[in-house]
């Protein structure tokens, strides 16, 4: 009897640990593909980028160590990097806030619209579904200075429309208009947040004698602040890698895109006004195959993105389920 008790005790001690080992193995099996993916497509390339940035590398011969010379060139000699950085900053400072503000405005209107709300939501969301390339091609046509519908309508009202995508001063604002048109994703997120604000809070504010503006300031804004912050930070992340819209707009508006030559042919048209940092990285890397130098540009982009991400992650923890615990 004692022996069986001991045996049972031992079994009881053994079984959970064996079960634990098994569970650990199963967990590992579930995670293996993702872990491999993170190592092969994220951790390794991140380290390799830093290494390449200290080399001269053209894909044909193996990388050659040249120390800090790429960075020296980047900060002191590169003829385009400054313009590309300024253009990208322009998108961070103008494109993001304008887009977010419009999304908030329309979400606010939709949150109040009771009749046909489904129709309005679909209408304002629909442009966000249009593939980015298609929306850029469409906008370059709609805003083309000669016979484009936009300038036709403006002419009807007696206004001489600008050259839009063909004028260095108007090309970026034209892309902001495009950004506003496709703000649907952010709008849906805002709308959900606005509809989540409890009615009791508004009623309580009314009882305290708050007017409409005060209700927005003291009830609405605090409740949607996390969502607002999130959309601004993801917007900034999107802006620092702004690529497709600018590259396609340059290509289509210049009318010179040629099969096989990618984007290098009419870079930043008109007059470099749409040359963004990531396009410059792309051209140095895959147009002229200066992979070492392009890696230095990538490392700089990583540093900037990392700073933004650290700011984001701090706030992020505050409103994920674990953060709340």
């Amino acid at each position: 009897m004692t022996s069986t008790a001991i045996r049972e005790g031992r079994a009881a001690r053994v079984r959970p640990s064996r079960a634990r080992t098994k569970r650990k193995l199963v967990t590992l099996a579930l995670l293996t593909p993702a872990l491999l993916g993170l190592v092969i497509f994220f951790v390794y390339p991140l380290i390799a980028s830093v290494y390449y940035s200290f080399t001269r590398f053209d894909l044909v011969s193996s990388p050659q160590w040249i120390g800090l010379r790429n960075y020296q060139y980047l900060f002191t000699q590169d003829p385009n990097v400054w313009q590309a950085t300024l253009n990208t900053l322009w998108f961070v400072v103008i494109w993001v806030p304008v887009k977010v503000a419009f999304a908030l405005l329309i979400a606010g209107l939709l949150a109040r619209a009771k009749r046909a709300s489904g129709f309005w939501r679909t209408l304002f969301y629909l442009p966000a579904l249009v593939p980015p390339v298609a929306s850029v091609v469409a906008f370059v046509f709609l805003f083309n200075p000669g016979t484009g519908p936009v300038n036709q309508v403006l002419k009807f009202f007696g206004i001489q429309g600008p050259l839009w995508f063909n004028d260095p001063a108007w090309s970026k604002p034209s892309l902001v208009l495009l950004g506003v048109w496709v703000m649907g994703d952010i709008m849906i997120i805002f709308l959900a947040a606005l509809l989540d604000v409890s009615k009791e809070q508004y009623e309580a504010a009314s009882l305290d004698g708050a007017n409409g503006l005060q209700k927005v300031r003291y009830v609405t804004m605090p409740s949607i602040a996390p969502v607002l912050l999130f959309s601004v930070v993801t917007g900034v992340i999107a802006a620092i890698q702004y690529f497709t819209e600018a590259a396609v707009a340059s290509g289509v508006a210049s009318g010179k895109a040629v099969i096989g030559e990618g984007i290098s042919n009419n870079l930043g048209y008109p007059d470099g006004s749409l040359l963004t940092y990531t396009q410059w990285l792309y051209v140095r890397g895959f147009g002229t195959y200066q992979l070492g130098y392009a890696s230095a540009l990538a490392v700089l982009l990583f540093v900037v993105a990392a700073v933004i991400l650290i700011l984001l992650l701090r706030r992020f923890k505050a409103f994920t389920p674990e953060g709340a615990q």
Binding site: K22, K24, V26, T27, L30, L31, P33, A34, L35, L36, G37, L38, I40, F42, P45, L46, L59, L109, A113, T122, L123, L126, L129, V130, P131, P132, V133, A138, F139, F141, L142, T147, W181, D185, I188, I189, A192, E200, E203, L207, V227, I240, T244, A247, V248, V252, A257, V258, G260, G262, Y282, G285, L291, A298, F302, A305, L309, L313, F316, P321
Partner: protein
């Protein structure tokens, strides 16, 4: 609850009457606000719908008519939609897009659902750190890691094809893992625990309990992946720009106008054709899709 229901009805009207003397002026003010809001809404609605309407109308015009001031197609050239298939290898490009989007989505599901399940429903050491790494991988610009990844694929002789964009999904996609995990977290852990007590292993719990309950979330994640691949421009530019036979249709559209001069009618027809599949999928899956967007924002 009781205090709210008791105090609200008498207090609210009294307050309103105190602030605004007559019910009539209150009503007229509300009507005015309603009218103002709806004027703004309708005006913005017209502005938002106009591009699609113009693109559609232009897609039915002859190439000469697109260069005139007229807005209405004369005559309606429906065969633009046929002609565009013969001017460029559009069918092949659609095929490439479909292959890219479908395989990427299937591969992503196979690899990312198990990982998201482990992150959401199994307690293990390092799960927090792993989740943080996934968020960083998700948010970091792809250009940061593009060069070494390109070098890898060129050593495997796969540049010039779409495989460098499809195959990595077999090893998980950070954004999809993140989104799936958020969906799985909304399923009460009691169900998973009950299934474990019934003798199910983790695979059993995932397959029999979590998957059936997370169908809308999985559908939304799959749709996001499909759309992202269908819309992708940067990836195909990087890997296939010198091989038109491998182009997906969105990339082909970007070079279409340049090759064929100023034929806006055909270009707009192709713009419509690239967009229609996405819009159709959206209307079939609208509910789960909107739920998915909301979850990306509200939960983080």
């Amino acid at each position: 609850m009781t205090s709210a229901t008791l105090t609200k009805p008498p207090a609210a009207p009294a307050k309103r009457q105190g602030r605004i003397p007559t019910p009539r002026s209150l009503r007229s003010r509300r009507v005015l606000a309603w009218i103002a809001e709806h004027i703004v809404l309708v005006a913005l609605g017209i502005l938002f719908a106009a591009p699609i309407v113009f693109v559609f109308l232009t897609s039915l015009m002859s190439s000469e008519q697109t260069l005139t001031a007229s807005i209405w197609p004369q005559p309606f050239q429906w065969d633009n939609y046929v002609k565009v298939f013969t001017t460029v290898p559009l069918l092949q490009w659609f095929g490439n897009s479909a292959l890219y989007a479908i395989l990427a989505t299937v591969f992503m599901l196979v690899s990312s659902v198990p990982a998201a399940y482990a992150l959401a429903k199994i307690k293990f050491r390092g799960s927090g750190a792993l989740f943080t790494v996934i968020i960083i991988a998700m948010l970091l610009p792809p250009q940061v890691t593009a060069i070494p990844i390109y070098v890898m694929w060129s050593q495997l002789n796969l540049t010039g094809t779409l495989w460098p964009l499809i195959l990595p999904n077999l090893l998980g996609d950070a954004f999809s893992i993140f989104l799936l995990r958020q969906f799985f977290l909304t399923i009460p852990s009691e169900y998973a625990d009950a299934a474990r007590i019934d003798g199910n292993g983790e695979f059993g719990v995932l397959w029999r309990v979590v998957l059936p309950m997370a169908k809308p979330g999985i559908a939304a994640t799959a749709i996001f992946m499909f759309f992202n691949s269908w819309n992708d421009y940067y990836g195909p530019l990087l890997y296939t720009s010198e091989n038109p036979a491998a182009w997906p249709v969105a990339y082909g559209l970007a070079s279409f106008r340049g090759v064929h001069g100023t034929d806006w009618g055909l270009t707009m027809a192709m713009t419509m054709l690239v967009t229609i599949p996405v819009v159709l999928i959206f209307f079939f899956a609208q509910r789960v899709f909107v739920e998915g967007i909301t979850l990306t924002g509200v939960k983080g």
